[in-house]
Each structure stands twice: as C-alpha cells, then as structure tokens.
Symmetry: C3
Subunit: 633 residues, 3 copies
C-alpha cells in the first residue's frame, strides 16, 4: 500500500499572498495531504449569521490546484466569543463548579442543546458548500475531543441530560436505586431529575453513580460527533475522520470511530513522555529526546483497530512543542523514525503538525515544518527523507499479529471510578502488558471489548476487564487462543456491583478471587523465578492449576486449559515471563529486546527502530541511534 | 469483667429471608452485640412523613430472639435526598465556599436549624418506638461525628450561629475586639452579626478569630449530640454511645462523651497507618499489614478516659478496607491481636465492622466477617478464636497506671490555628510522648485537660498545653506526681494572646520562655547524651535547674521540685530519656521494647502483643509474629 | 553620609501611658526614625465619617518631642469592616473567582472606584492635618503593595478597567485582535468591553492576553499610588516613600518609585530564604539562621536604582518571624550584619520592624526590638552596637560599580506568562547572574530597563530581556561596555509575538536563535571548561564568533565586538566563567569568594560580611561567623 505524508495548515493565519508559495513548497516536499479549517469559526462567521466563506473557497482552490488533497475540519472546537455571549451557559463546568471560560478552546459542554444546534448549523453550511468540492478528499470532525479534560462537565445542561440518559437506561427510579445499591447511606432518589452530578460530595460518591456519569459523558461525545457525521454524509462522499489525542480515555474512541471512516490520532512523543506515559523519572530522562519506545506503537495499534484498519497520524510532533512541563528538541532523526513507526503499524498517512510555526498565541513555541521566518525546520528536512525512502522502500503492509490485546474504554471508566490503590489505572495496566509483548519483539493487534471472534490469534490477553459480559466470557473460553485474564476480570457486574458467585466466574476456569488488596508501591511481592506482583493482588482459590507462585508459596496465577488467570498487577518482568511461556508453548518466535530497540512486522519486511541514544545490535544487524532498519522477511 | 464481641449489621441491605440465618450465625460465632440502623433514614422515611418502621421492628425482633443485644443507631448522618431538596441550605460549606453536596454521607451543617429539627423528629420517633424494647440494649447517636472533615462549615447558618456564640462568650463587641487584639490591621468589628467566618481571607486570619471558630464548631457538635441524647433518655434507660473516629480532633470528644454513657471508637489500624499516624514511609512499609503498634492503644486509653471507664471498639477493621490510599490485607492473626489489645486496655466490647461485605456502593471493597458470597472471611474465623480464648482466659481487668498523659482538644484547636512550624500538630506531639512511654513498657492513663486530681499517679506528662488555667497550674504544681511540661505550656491566654509575664508563668517553677523558633526538620539540635530537639525550640531562662542540655551548651529542659519543663519538640529518644530518668527516680519498672513488641497490664495479667512480622523475645518469653502472650503478674 | 536607624511603632496597640517611655527608650537606643499609622484606619475612622485623629496628634507629639522623626503611613492597606459592608464588591477576586474576604489586610481591588475614592479621602484628611507638622519627616503610602499576591484581581471592577486600559492601548478592537493573533483558535473579540479576564480558561489563555493583563494590573498599582502621592504633595514637602516587599514582581517598582522620593523595602532574610530565594534544600539548611548571602544585597541594589540613590530598609527582620514555613532565630550578630550590608549598599536608614512584639493577632510570633514583657530583645542590643559603630566608623559612601545588571519588571511579567519550562522565572535568572557577580567580589549597579546611558560601566549584563526596544538595542550596541545578552533576548515583540527576522535581531551581532528548547533539570548540558546550560537552551547560528561551546561541540554562546550572547540558562559556574573572562579582559579585579563571605565597596572602605556559620579568611583578614569587617581601600 502507498503510504503518504501531509501537514496541517492555517491559511487564515497568513497573508493570502503567500498561500500559493506555501502550497507549492508542500507539494515539492512530497506532501499529499493538507488539513485546514478546524479552528476558523470566527473567520467563517465573525458575528452571528455573518458568513464569510470566500477566503476558504480561495484557500481550498489554491491548495487543491497545487495537487494537494484537502482534509477539511469542522471548527466546533472553537466557538466564537459572540456565541458564548449568546449562550453563557454553554460553557462546561469543572469539578469544583467553576465555568470553564472563553479564551482558549474546547469551551463547550457536550450536553448543551443550544450549542449542539450551533454546531449542526455550521457543519451543515460547510458540508453544503464543500460537499462536492473536487479538492476535499476527507473531513475531520471537531478537534481532539476530550483534550484539556473536557469530557466530564458538571453543568446544569449535563445534569439534565444525565437524568434523561439514566431514565432511558434504567426505566424506573426504583430499578436505578436497586442497581446502584442506593439503600447504602440512604442515597435513594425519588426521581431521575433529582439525581445530582457526582461532584463536590462530602466523601466519594457511589461508584455506580460515578461510573454511570462517565458512561453518560462518553455517550455525549459519541452523540455529538454523530450529529456532525450525519450532516456531512448527506452532502459528501469523502471519508470522515476525527483526530483523537494520546491517552485520552474519558470517552470511547471505538464508539466514536464506528461513525467515522478513518481513525486518526495526534502523536506527540516527547510531550506525552513528560505528562502521559507514566514512566519513572529515570526513563523520562533517558528518552527525553526520543519519546517512549512503545507509547506511539500502542496508539498506532489502538487506532488501527478503531478505524478497522484505516488510520492516520493526523498530527505528528515536528520538533519541540510548547505544552509539556519541559519541551526538549527531538534527537536528530526522530521525526523520520516516528513516521516509519507509524507506517510499520499500518498508517495510511503521517501529517506533521504544523506547516509553519505560528509566531503568535498559545502555540507560538510549537515547532513547525518551517520556522516563523520561513526557513526549513528539521521536520521538513526529515519529511523529505521519508518521502525519498517511501519512493525507494519496499511496500509496507500490515501483518496479521499472532497476539491480541483487548483495550476497553468502559473498563478504564471503571478503574478511574475505583482504582482501589492510589495511582492504579487500567490504561497503565494494559500498556505495561503491551510493553512486555513488544519487548519480546511481538507484533500485536489491539482489539476492542466488543470483539467476539478471536480466530487467527494464538494468544489473547485481556487484563483488567472489570466487567465482562457472558458472551465475551464464552467467546474467550471457546476460542483457540491462549487467553490471559486477570487481575480484576469480571470483578463487577454492569452496574459496578460485586457479583455472586465471586469473580471471575468464568466458564471452564475453576478460579475464585477470595480477597483483594492494594499495597504500597514499595511492597513488591516477589514471584518464584523472577518478577513481582506490585500494588494490587488477589487471593486465588479453586481447582485450576497453579501457574505462578509467590516466593512465600501463595498462588500468583492459575491456569486451566486455554485460560490463564493472573491474580495481581504484574511488573514488566512478570508480564514478560507470562507471555514468554505462552509464546514458547505456542511456538511463537520471540526476541529479548532491551534498551530502546523495537521491531514491527509489516508484510514482507520487519521494521526495526532504535529509540536509544546510542547505536545497538539487533538480530538484523547494527542500528544507529534514532535509526530505522528494514529487514526483509 | 466479661469482655464481649459484636458486629455491625444492615438488615435493610439484605433480603428479609436471610435475617434469621444471619442472626443465628452471629450468635453461634459468640457475638453478643449487633449494631443496626445508623444509615437507614431513607428506609425509615422514604418521603417526608411517610414512616416505615415495620421492617425495623421485625429486624430487631429477629436479632433479639436469636439472643443478640441490639445497639440502635440514629440515622442522622445520612439525611435523605428529599430533605436536602426541602432545605437546600442545610449542606455544610467547605473552606472554599462550595456546598458539600448530597451523594455520600454527613452532608449537613451542625448549625442549620431546619436540620436540627429534622434530627430531633426522627430521634424522637425512634426513641418513642423502641425506648422500652427488651432487645435494645444500647443506643448510638449519629455516626462518626467529624469524619470526612465535617466539623468546620462555612455556611450562612454557621456564620449566624457563630455570631450568637460570640455574643454569649464576650458580651460586648468591644470586649471581643479587645480580647482578640482587633486593633491590629484595623480588624475591629462593629457588631457580632457582622463577624465573618475565617475563610478565604487574603492572608491568615487573626488566630484568636480562628481559634474561636474552632471552639464554636466543636460546641456545635456537642450541642447537636446532646439534643439526641436528651430525647432518647426521655424514653429509654439503655446506655447511649457514639462511635468516634480515630484521630479526628476538630471537636471535643470529652465534652460529647459527658452526655453519653459509653464512649466507643472505630478502629482501622491499617487504614489509619496510611493516612493518620503521621509515620515515616519506612515505618508505614514495616507495619503495613499490622498497623502502628501504638496508635490503637492511644485511642483505647483516650476513650477509656472519655467514657469514664466504659468504652468499646464499635467498629473493628476485619480485613482490607476501601478508603485508604493503599488497602492491604492484615497479617493473619491481627484481627485477634487487635481485639486483645482493646481488652487489655479495658474495652467492654469489640464489634467487627461489618457482618457481611456489601457488594454495592462506596464500601464494596471493605471486608466483612462474611464474604459477599456468604463464606467465612478471616475476621469471622479469628473472632471465633477470640471467643474461645475469652472463655478460657483469666479475667481481664483495667490496671491503674503509674503514668498519666493529658490530652486536651482545646490545645489541639490552638496548635491547628497556629502550628508556627510547618507540619507541627498537638496530636502528634502527645502521640510521640505516648509512644515513648509505651516503648518503655508502661501502662498509661490518658487524662482530659479539665482534670484537677492527680492522686495515684507518679508521673503526669502534659506536653503542649498552650493554654493552661490557673487552677490547673496549681493542681499540677501541688500534686505528688513528677510533672512534665512544655513545649508551649501556657504560651497563650484563653483568647490566644501571649500573656505577660511571659510563659509558662508556673507557680513553683522559675522558668521563662524568652524566645521561640521553629526549624526545618533537617536541622535537629542534638542533646548531650542522645536524642534531639527538632522542628521547634524555646530559649529558656530562669532560676530553675538545668535538666537537659544541647550539645552546644544551651539549655534544653529545666527542673524545679516536681516540675520539669522541656523547651522544645523532643524526638522519640529524647522523650524516652526524659521519662526513663523520671521512672528510675520514682522506682517505676521499665522495659526497653523495640520493634513491634508492646505490653499492657490488665489486672493480674500483662498482655504482650507483637506487631512485628517476625517472632520476638519478651521478658515473658517468645512471642509469634502477630502474636498475643498472657503473662500472669 | 550619615546613616541612621529607626523602628516601626504602633501607638494604637499600647496604652497611652507608656508612649513617652517608649519614645525615650527609642531615642536612647540611637534611633532616628519611627514609622507609625499605616494600619490604623479603624482607629482613625471607627465608623464612616467619625474621625478620631486626636490620639494620633498626641502620639506624633510624644514621639517628636522625644527627638524622633516620624514617618507617617497612609492606612489604606487595611480598610475597616464598615467599608467592606458599604462596598461589598471592593474585595479582590482570586484566580478561582472567590472574593478575598475581610479578616486580615490588603482586602481591596486596585480597580474598584469606590475604594479609590475612600483612599483619596483618608489620605487627604491625613495630609491636611499633618502636612505641615514639624515632626512628620517623611510619608509612606499604603503598605507592601502586592504582598499576599494582591496585584492580580479577577473582579468585575478589574474586568471593566482592563477593557478601558486595552482601549487606550490599542485604539481599535481590530488592532488588538491583530496584535494578539486572536485569529488563532477563533479568539477574536468584537469589542473591548467583551474581553474576559484570563482566568479559568479551559487551557492556557493567549500569552498576549495574559501579558496585557499583567501590565494592566501593574499600571493599576502605579495609578493607585500616584493618587496618594499627588494628594500628599499638595500639603507636605516631606519626602514620600513606599515600603516594597522582597521578591514581589507583579508590578513595576520602578514606575511606582518614579512618583516617590525615597524607595524603601522590607528585608526579612530568614523568611525569604524559606519561601522566596528559590534555593536548594541544602542551601536553605546552611543559611537557615543567616539568610541567603546575596538576596538582600540584590534588593538593596534594586531599590537604590528605584529611588535614584535614595533608599531605606523600612522593615528589618529583628529575630524570628511568624509567617514562613519555618521560623528560626537568627544567629547572634545577624541583625547587626544585615544593617551593615544595607549601609554598604547605600541605605540612608535601617528601621527594625517592630518596636515591641505584639502579644496579639497575626504577628504575635514576630519578634520585636522589645519582648512582649518589655525586656530588651536581641535586635535592640545589636541595634545599639550598630549605633556605636556608626558613631566610630568611617563614612560609608556609595561607590560607582564597574558592572551593571538590568532588571526589568516587564520582562518578569513576560516570563511569568510563558516560562516555557516548568519553574523557570526571570527573577531567578537575573538573581543567579547577580550571585555569580557577587561571588566574584564585584560591586553591582542594578539598572532599569528604560536605561539608555551606560557610560561609566565596563560590563552591562542584560539576561532574559524578552522584549527589547530598538533604542535599547542601539544604546547597548553603541555603549562602551561589554554587553552580555541572552537567553531569550528580544525573543518577542511588545505584544508577546515572535518577531521576524528571528531574535535577537541585534545591530552589530550576527546571531540568530534558530530553535529553543526546555529540558528536565536532570539533563544538564556540560560546557567545555566547566559549568552547564540547564533547563533552557537555544540553538544559535550566525557569523558571530563562538564564545562558549558545549562538550558535544554545539555552540553555547557567541560574541561579536562588545556583544556577547549566551544561548541558554547558565548555572552558577557558567555565569561565573562568563563574567570572569570579561572582567579579566577589562582589567576589573575579582575575587573567588566561596561559602558565605561577600564584600561591597562603599567609598573609601570595602565592607566584608560573613554569612557563614564559622569564621573564614578574606583578602582583608579573618572574619567571624556572622561578622563584619571594614577594609580601608
């Protein structure tokens, strides 16, 4: 498959006189795609009803005529000030009850009906006008849903919508009170519209309440996005995408993607390392200029799943950014490496954000492909190298992976509601399993929680699925794969209540979790043979066989037929041992990758990357610091 | 005396069909007491005036007929949602001015008159109905006053009540302005009703103002509790209790207890270790599965004093809890050890919280004596062991202690108002002195600040009593005990103003505190002979003799006749040296206990406990990890 | 020049009977100055319009007749409670939108017109009554503008005033939108009065917006102060001062000082070390009882500049204070040393705060020259020593310094708006350069950013001047001094937008900053020859010569003629090397001072001070711990 490059461009930021030169320079650099428009509402409609689309017409034409394919974004992430004056209550409200004011972006509550109608209107206007433009090759809805913690809003609009959502889900208030166990602490409600949002309570709210609010909030994002998609589809046949943001888990990206044609995400390896990877300080120091070796790969696999195989990097970090606690420059070569990592995982396109560094406003210290003075920045130079390599390199295809890993947003909502031990999160749990798989040199498919067909996989890992439906239990038990479960598998029913019989209550697996505990991070429980359970642990009992033991003789993991249950939070070595044993049994080849070297199979080639700051040896030969190596398989 | 066991039960959480089996199983396990009802308001009165007491009638009868004695709780810690809708301003308000919303518990302001009347009404209804029930053997008012930081409320109701409280205390606004020194920074008020609550000020408020607000807030709890007690007494002769929570010091537990018959407290050794003991990280790691060796003992002694000898553990941790940052499982044997520690200190009853783990709502991860699937949990098994031991063991009586330690809530309010050095607290000061006494193997009586008769004690320690009335000074000076004073003794008058002559101005003790200072914790001031003053220090002058010296020759403590004044915050070794010297002089036997071994005299026996994770030697023989040893005296 | 001593006195705190004895004792101790009145509004006007000036008449007369010169403060930092009841919206509003309530001090918003008129009124009353008093020798406006974070207020009054300020600055809303780049994220405004304050935005606001708000807020302080000055001048010829507070940088002290005759500041070396110096924990431990060796000196030089040579220490720490996290006692001798440090830098007067320790209210734990019981406190004893030394010592004059260092409040606003890396601040940058200069034994003049005449200086350092006007660039380039620029020099235009050509765009210096980055503090970039760039770094290119190189061969600093540009944040050693090289070239004598020894030239003498806790050797001989040494030059 042909892999492509692109960039993000803001014609409204620059004098019209330079658009043409910009477009030509993009094309010359080998860029295929240019995304525009997603923050331009105040220029499209400076005052209410005063529509100014001419400049956009001309910008699209200039870009299109230069041979570029345009991705047109809807501008709903940046409602203009006049709209906030018209709907003062459209602002989201933070957990302390403070409105989140105008002055940056994403200052809207997904539940506000007035804003929903404004969104419909502007999307309709754009779709009508550009739906059949020959230059519009794709659409993007809004921008980075959930960025800046914007999914959960404690507004009156959200309260009202939450009541309606609950009424639809539970039918009667008695059913809700029963399902949530509201008899506890006399928390029973008399009607759906009397239910408060779960903020500012004296101590923690009922976890059933919190989880419901998280699910509702996720559904509001899905519904908001679907309104835009439905409108666009009426006027345009071009594929529709959204650019998800790394490690935003407050809404279900799979469900949003169900309404899209292409899933894309915004990949900022250095920014993420600082504030989202969850790494130790030492790891952050080691990879400060390269990014975590697995974080991007994880998201690549995630969005390949979300997009049913069609996915892009819509924004690729081009140099230092402005928004992390510290913003170092990437090691020379990383902008190329990141692109190849994306292609190795099946990206159709990698678009660098942004074309020219803006000298003004919030992102003035965010690098671009051009410097503010129009000189080439390193990203442009490395993009040209990728362009040449794409021309010369063998085709990059997406290999079927032997191993699957389930990632389920609903499970993340449940863990966020109830981490049980300080700092524990579902994302971190799954990501650490992923890191272990990848450090074994394995290619991985990420699967959503709704998956029922596991054919083709030899190993399926499903850690931390705190709620598991009967049919998923059945599908896993009956699959041909070795299935890795636990911790907390099926620990709650759909309403966040402990089921009886006790978890996991899995057909074909005689294991019961008798008791759970969370521990200080400095109290690891060592496993016989290496590795530890840390921070969280379950006491297992039952007739299944012992798979792993603690040094003190207690059971750490059990196994029966194709089902393995891990009773705790594994550290990296423990995960690696679990997967290595199962791979060896299944005859799956593994490597023992250390430092920053990783690989991914991509059709007839295996693509090696080195996130380390010094050269390293791989089974395919020596690889430079920040290097990429293509091994024919 | 006969020591008993009990549990806490929520019939409203379970199908009525299983109540009888539950009751029988409790009785079989040797339980005497069952506490019920304290969170059931929404089931007793689902909508306003719609009273539903039948189910409670039946529950009491089922339990009583099984031979259990019922403790009936008033449900005022959990006002139903309809009441909050009726009185929206009944919610407490936090220090930032945000109402503390419905959705958990304790969502009321003690000063709200509407809620006070609702409380009167439901208590009256319960007392009328069950006042002469043969099965109701005790009462509990409300639940854990002050838990979740619920004493200080910055509501309008509190502002109004505070003004009235001040008017009663000071008589005229001129007297208040004078007493507080409001001339400073022009803080003078024109009337009592214009006095603001001391939150959200630009910089810290006047300490006299803050202290008055803390005293007022404490009095509001006392008054609220007394209303309930007065009503119950009109209908019932059964003893009345309240279950205090560990290390809650925002109100005066002695004054609340003055209106009760029995003081009880809720003992969660592992939860407390995580977030209330104030221990080092290493200490927390060492005792993560056992709890601090002294924290429970301190509270046992405290509530024995509060209850005038009658006290219980109303809630005993039965396994992992849900609410601490980390929630490990106790070492096997600890649920038994904790019970014996309580009996050793004179507890009449130890009730495990709760009978069966609730699968729903906030405490779903809080262990019970039964698992959610009805299987025995470790607490039940260890409780049965205690039952058998109680049957076989010698009688446990409360020995008179040779050493007394004063704990005064008003002093805690004053230190909280003005710690002077970051992190210093009165509770911590007294608790560290207690730890030193207990590590010497001493049995200790805790005395309230109002005590005037010290006969029987050879040593009385009264550290940190920042205000000391003339008659207490006199009583201590004239007692036959060796009295240990300082730091900050009598450092302020009753209105939080420095007295002249300078502190401590103690009859019979020629010591003056010339200057005070607080230091970084990493600047210990070493004592000649071992130990340090840390964090806080006073320059002493006067004709009294030098008792301890710093290595640089400055005076650290002085002594005259039976009065010893310590001019600083002692570390553990310094306290131990002070007490050891006084014990040696007085001929009191001491041990040098290290690790987790402790002892308490209990009539004719000395009860040894080992909080360590490995066996240890004691003067009475070898003791297992988590073990209990009975030594005949 | 004659150097003098003084104190701060609050007659309203003490019985009138003791005023005379106090005054006599002050005079006997050699004090010249006594400041009074600055918090007494509630005593001057207990209720609205009820003026009570008689007591102040008498106090001034008592003090004056004892031979003391009175500094009279306006009481506007402490508006009485009745005024807040009259103008409830006069309170400042914090960043979270909460009003900052009555109950301490500085509870007013500079932008509130009603309060401005109240301030005018009370100042007029004081000026009329005391303008020609023979005893009033100086005035002080208000007290410590900006203390307790009181410059930035998010009130409605501030919003309205900000809109007017912006209208004056930009003329048209289109100009503002263009200057700020509000096209970015559709942040365009339709009118000046619709512009929100930059708090509670979803993510960071536009830096142009934030910077404008900071400049506006600074101007509001300047304007408020000028109203007071203008009124006083109509009635009095005595010099007018304000007492600035250490490391308060939210408003421009130079601009406020332009309206004053004398700049004064409040020097609390130990309190500042704890919470303002920004030192490592180890440094804080080492100097806990002495204060940072350079922090006071920096401010002395700063206020000498602000006052055009006329400056005082209006409040000198006299012992332990009450307000820092930890409040240790100074080493014996420090109260003398601090006074001599001030004189060495040209202070006309050093006034100890306060005369007698107040036993009540917020500062009851703040030492005075007298203890609460009237005994001499150490400050009084050391002040007497200074009095005697002043009598005997040679005259202390202000030497011209060979080195100048620019400090510009507007640059601090810009760095605060956009630190780029966590924890970076302009003050810290300049202060670290200052420390390096002082550790070379150099006397330094601080210059404001508006300086254009650099004659007389051999070296001018101007680090971090993020905006630099064309005429300042020209003045520096054309000066005869060696000029040290960078990092971030001229990195933004006046509206916080990156200029093109890229920075620094300095005439005569062919250097371009191609890219900038911020790094974790644990990623130092070592320089060849010693020292590091840390936390922030720039890639330099251009024809200028290389001045410093990183160990990896990259350029760290460049130089061309008299202009040196440093491309990053230097650590102490790096700064020291830069300045040492330039001094050696220029033939300026330097020392290599280590530990706590420092010196300052003062006319014909060099004054050595030792902030260390042990004696040390200097080129002028041995110096005691906490000692002062006078070397004749």
């Amino acid at each position: 498959m042909k892999r492509t490059l692109g960039t993000c461009y803001y014609p409204e930021h620059w004098p019209e006189e330079i658009w043409e030169a910009d477009a030509r320079r993009m094309a010359d650099a080998g860029l295929t795609w240019v995304r525009i428009g997603e923050f331009a509402w105040s220029r499209l409609e400076p005052t209410q009803g005063n529509l100014q689309f001419d400049w956009l017409d001309r910008a699209i034409e200039v870009l299109g005529k230069a041979g570029l394919k345009v991705v047109l974004g809807t501008p709903t992430a940046t409602p203009p000030h006049w709209m906030v004056e018209k709907h003062p209550d459209m602002l989201a409200v933070d957990v302390n009850g403070h409105p989140r004011k105008f002055g940056s972006r994403r200052h809207y509550c997904f539940s506000h009906e007035g804003f929903q109608l404004e969104s419909d209107r502007i999307v309709q206007l754009l779709a009508e006008r550009y739906g059949d433009s020959p230059y519009i090759a794709a659409w993007q809805t809004d921008n980075e849903y959930g960025c800046h913690d914007t999914v959960l809003s404690y507004s009156n609009a959200a309260k009202k919508a939450f009541g309606l959502w609950l009424a639809r889900r539970y039918g009667s208030i008695e059913a809700l009170n029963r399902a949530w166990g509201n008899v506890f602490w006399s928390m029973e409600y008399a009607s759906f519209d009397s239910i408060d949002l779960p903020n500012l309570t004296v101590t923690e709210p009922n976890p059933s309440h919190s989880l419901a609010f998280r699910r509702f909030s996720s559904d509001q994002v899905v519904a908001f996005n679907k309104r835009q998609v439905d409108i666009i589809r009426r006027y345009s046949g071009a594929p529709i995408s959204h650019n998800f943001m790394g490690r935003i888990t407050e809404f279900d990206h799979f469900k949003v993607s169900d309404d899209l044609d292409i899933a894309t995400w915004d990949s900022y390896p250095l920014g993420f390392l600082e504030d989202r990877v969850g790494a130790t300080s030492e790891h952050q120091r080691l990879y400060a200029r390269q990014g975590d070796p697995d974080f991007q790969a994880f998201h690549h696999d995630l969005y390949r799943a979300a997009g049913n195989g069609r996915w892009w990097v819509m924004e690729q970090q081009p140099g230092p950014v402005n928004w992390a606690p510290y913003n170092p420059a990437p090691l020379s070569g990383m902008m190329r490496l990141w692109a190849w990592e994306a292609y190795a995982h099946g990206a159709e396109a990698v678009c660098y954000f942004r074309w020219r560094q803006a000298p003004f406003a919030q992102e003035q210290m965010h690098a671009g492909m051009l410097r503010p003075d129009n000189a080439d920045a390193p990203a442009l130079i490395e993009a040209r190298q990728v362009r040449d390599e794409l021309h010369d390199a063998p085709d990059v295809e997406t290999s079927p992976a032997p191993v699957a890993l389930i990632f389920d947003y609903d499970a993340d909502f449940a863990w966020a509601t109830q981490p049980h031990g300080a700092g524990l999160s579902y994302f971190q749990l799954v990501f650490e399993a992923y890191k272990a798989l990848r450090s074994l040199g394995l290619s991985v498919d990420i699967l959503r929680g709704e998956t029922r067909d596991f054919s083709g996989y030899q190993i399926v890992a499903a850690p931390g699925l705190i709620y598991m439906s009967q049919d998923l239990k059945k599908a896993l038990a009956e699959s041909n794969a070795e299935v890795v479960l636990g911790p907390r598998t099926a620990a709650r029913n759909a309403d966040m209540v402990i089921p009886v019989p006790l978890p996991p209550d899995m057909p074909g697996l005689e294991v019961t979790v008798a008791r759970v505990e969370s521990m200080r991070p400095d109290m690891p429980m060592p496993l016989k043979g290496g590795g530890n359970l840390v921070s969280y642990r379950e006491e297992l009992e039952g007739a299944a066989g012992t798979f792993l033991e603690l040094e003190d003789g207690q059971i750490a993991a059990m196994r029966q037929d194709n089902l393995t249950y891990v009773g705790g939070w594994c550290d990296g070595l423990a995960w690696k041992r679990v997967f290595k044993m199962l791979c060896d049994e299944a005859g799956i080849e593994t490597f023992d990758l250390s430092g920053g070297v990783r690989c991914r199979d991509a059709g007839n080639i295996r693509i090696w990357t080195n996130y380390g700051a010094s050269p390293s040896d791989t089974p395919a030969g020596r690889i430079d610091a920040a290097g990429v190596l293509f091994e024919r398989l």
